[in-house]
């Protein structure tokens, strides 16, 4: 017998019973533990995932860039969540709204700002700024502790996987590809998704050419000319889309 605790037996009959009946004990624990999740997550579930006007799904190239952002854990140091404080809206722009994230799977809010927030980086940074910065951050921002991402200039972006993700979200979550999406100025925008992977690759390349035209790196230009898309081009397409 264990003598690891000392107390009067008769005082805690219910708990003693539970401690002799592991099945009911486990059920009791599970119900106690599960309760909070049900109450906090379920009530707002459908409401929170509705897009607001002006929010459109990502294009194939942007989505490939988003996957590169995730692959390199950019979210480990950069947030995408502007809190409703004057200091944050002064620095980063309008505070975040729930509907703006409707097509973000996964969400990329981050939990640490070793570097600045990027939720609306597309509003105030340009393609050539990103090109210079990703190659040598400290030359663009003296004192920066961000590492250089030189391999992104040679690694090829994975357009096929981005396309697979588009097909998946269109099919499973009815993400509105090839459908008109309302914009803030009253117009509509259609984000196209290829009907085949070949078409998707072609569309991504066309989009990549526009971005590469604003870049200086000769390897990038050569790759694009050969029909390959370096990771950096897709990443910049994604960063430019953050508004």
């Amino acid at each position: 017998m264990h003598r690891l605790w000392a107390h009067k037996e008769k005082d805690y009959n219910m708990f003693h019973w539970l401690e002799k009946h592991p099945f009911f004990f486990a059920v009791g624990v599970f119900l106690t533990v599960a309760f909070a999740g049900l109450v906090t997550i379920i009530p707002n579930f459908t409401q929170a995932s509705r897009p607001i006007i002006g929010t459109a799904p990502y294009s194939t190239l942007e989505l490939a860039g988003r996957q590169i952002y995730i692959k390199n854990s950019c979210n480990g140091c950069h947030s995408q969540l502007i809190r409703p404080f004057k200091s944050e809206t002064d620095r980063y722009g309008h505070y975040s709204l729930s509907g703006e994230y409707a097509y973000d799977r996964p969400f990329l809010w981050g939990s640490k700002r070793t570097g600045p927030d990027l939720m609306r980086v597309g509003n105030y940074r340009t393609t050539d700024w990103h090109e210079n910065h990703m190659k040598a951050p400290a030359e663009v921002v003296p004192g920066s502790i961000m590492p250089a991402y030189t391999w992104m200039f040679t690694n090829k972006a994975d357009i096929d996987t981005a396309y697979a993700e588009q097909v998946t979200v269109a099919k499973v979550f009815s993400t509105p590809y090839n459908k008109p999406v309302p914009m803030k100025d009253g117009s509509t925008k259609i984000v196209k998704m290829g009907s085949s992977v070949e078409e998707a690759r072609g569309m991504a390349l066309a989009e990549a050419k526009v971005i590469a035209a604003d870049m200086k790196d000769q390897d990038v230009k050569d790759a694009i000319a050969k029909g390959n898309i370096p990771e950096i081009v897709a990443l910049i397409a994604y960063l430019n889309s953050l508004k």
Partner: protein, 492 residues
């Protein structure tokens, strides 16, 4: 079998003890590298710019968190289960071929899982969700390992001789159920290769939840992964090892009850404190704050129960380094569970969120409470498992002070860094313009990042001393006694 105690079989416990130490070294070493990368960014390409893709901060960070949480700590939890489970249920693993097989299968699948995790994270396969970075094939492997652990727990309970479940068993059951629920729901993801009809990378998946919902589910998971991996099973350990090592009865059964059921109910509400001022509903944020403060009660309940267990026997804290680890561990637990609720208050969180103060908070819990307790558990188990006395008491004492100093350097530097940065971000000048550009708030942190790196390095050095001590224990003087009672035998 007259009065002889049962011969327990520690085969599986021993296996997990080895992975605890090995993955502890890996996880902490990567942590130290990361710390110095922030202080000296040149280290991001420490193996040359050709390999910088694999050595930079972003790629290494999930490897650090996951190898510490799911490598070091979970191995320690499994090792302690395969040790404590038999002893408090009064049944030996050797009595059931089936459970022995399950235990070994669980271990080897776990090892395969670890290898898959390391390789895939280095390659950049990640879902981006903190402490749930693994892609879907690994998630499936993890679920299998976890189910096997459940079979082991309930299997051993099924053939037990001691009918009443000791407190440690409550916590192991809770850890098993809690992680199972959280992990399953947070990792609901669709493999895009199959859903799209065969395009792209087979490893890739997309989350079932979008945006704000995804954030809510993720922080419900991540906050409670801290609960059910870094708190609950560690409490299971201390409820067994502290009374065993000190020869003292647990101070209060009533307090154990209150703390256990209180922790189970309250913890799960508090995840919202990671999302203050975000786009999740305001009432969820408020609940997160309020329940975080309430959480002090069950947390301190356990810790006070531990401290009062030493009532009248405080000289043991001075005499035994093993008791030192457990008592300082409990103290850090109290400290950390007070600091957390303070950070969860909305107005404090407005400054603390996104800063290094949070990193400091995590580490005074992880290094001071979890790390100390897992090492204490292994120190207590080693003489019983290897039937040898602990190799060196003086190494233990030196290690204790080196690591304590390391922790103090770590959290003090991160306090200063976090509050400094949080205050600088919000500072406005007399005209209402931002007083600092972002980079000003980065360069100011350099000395604190360097101090933090030194703190982490000291902790790693202490851990290597621990590993050496356990290694030498395996060839130390044999223990004469048939079954050791209480205080662990230690060499000079």
């Amino acid at each position: 079998m007259e009065n002889r105690p049962l011969e327990y079989d520690y085969t599986v416990a021993k296996m997990f003890m080895f992975t605890t130490i090995a993955l502890g070294i890996v996880g902490m070493l990567i942590g130290v590298i990361l710390a110095f990368e922030l202080a000296y960014p040149g280290l991001n390409s420490i193996l040359g710019s050709g390999l910088a893709e694999y050595t930079n901060f972003g790629r290494l960070r999930p490897l650090h968190t996951d190898s510490v949480i799911f490598g070091f700590v979970i191995s320690g939890v499994f090792a302690s289960w395969y040790y404590i489970g038999q002893r408090v249920l009064k049944v030996s693993m050797a009595e059931s071929k089936f459970l022995m097989f399950i235990g070994k299968l669980q271990f080897w699948l776990y090892v395969i899982g670890v290898v898959a995790v390391v390789v895939s994270l280095f390659m950049g396969y990640t879902t981006s969700k903190e402490y749930a970075e693994f892609e879907w094939p690994i998630d499936i492997a993890i679920v299998i390992v976890w189910v096997l652990w459940g079979v082991s727990i309930f299997g051993l309970i099924g053939i037990r001789r001691e009918k009443s479940l000791y407190i440690s068993i409550w916590y192991y059951i809770a850890s098993f159920l809690g992680v199972a629920m959280l992990y399953l729901f947070n990792n609901m993801e669709i493999p895009t290769y199959f859903a799209s009809g065969g395009y792209g990378d087979i490893m890739h998946s997309v989350s079932m939840y979008a945006g704000t919902n995804d954030a809510l589910v993720q922080w419900w998971y991540a906050h409670n992964a801290v609960a059910f991996v870094l708190t609950v099973p560690i409490i299971a350990m201390i409820y067994y090892f502290l009374p065993k090592e000190s020869g003292q009865a647990i101070y209060s059964y009533k307090l154990s009850l209150l703390s256990f059921w209180g922790l189970m109910f309250v913890y799960l509400w508090a995840g919202g404190h990671h999302l203050l001022y975000s786009t999740v509903p305001d009432w969820v944020q408020t609940m997160g704050s309020v329940f975080s403060v309430i959480l002090i009660l069950p947390s301190w309940g356990s810790a006070i129960n531990m401290l009062l267990t030493m009532k009248g026997e405080w000289q043991q804290v001075a005499a035994s380094p093993l008791i030192k680890f457990m008592i300082l561990g409990s103290t850090f637990y109290m400290f950390s569970t007070l600091e957390g609720p303070i950070q969860a208050i909305k107005s404090v969180n407005a400054i603390a969120h996104f800063t290094d103060w949070i990193i400091g908070h995590v580490h005074d819990g992880a290094l001071g409470w979890v790390g100390f307790m897992v090492m204490a558990a292994l120190y207590h188990m080693a003489p019983r498992v290897f039937k040898r006395e602990l190799y060196s008491k003086s190494i233990m004492i030196t290690q204790f002070w080196i690591q304590t100093l390391g922790i103090v350097l770590y959290f003090t530097s991160m306090w200063i860094a976090g509050i400094t940065q949080g205050m600088m971000w919000r500072a406005h000048d007399e005209f209402g313009n931002l007083a600092y550009s972002f980079i000003d708030t980065v360069t100011v942190l350099h000395p604190y990042y360097a101090i933090r790196g030194v703190g982490g390095l000291l902790y790693l050095v202490g851990f290597l001393m621990f590993a050496y001590n356990i290694y030498k224990t395996m060839s130390a003087r044999p223990v004469e006694e048939y079954e050791l009672q209480n205080a662990s035998p230690m060499g000079a």
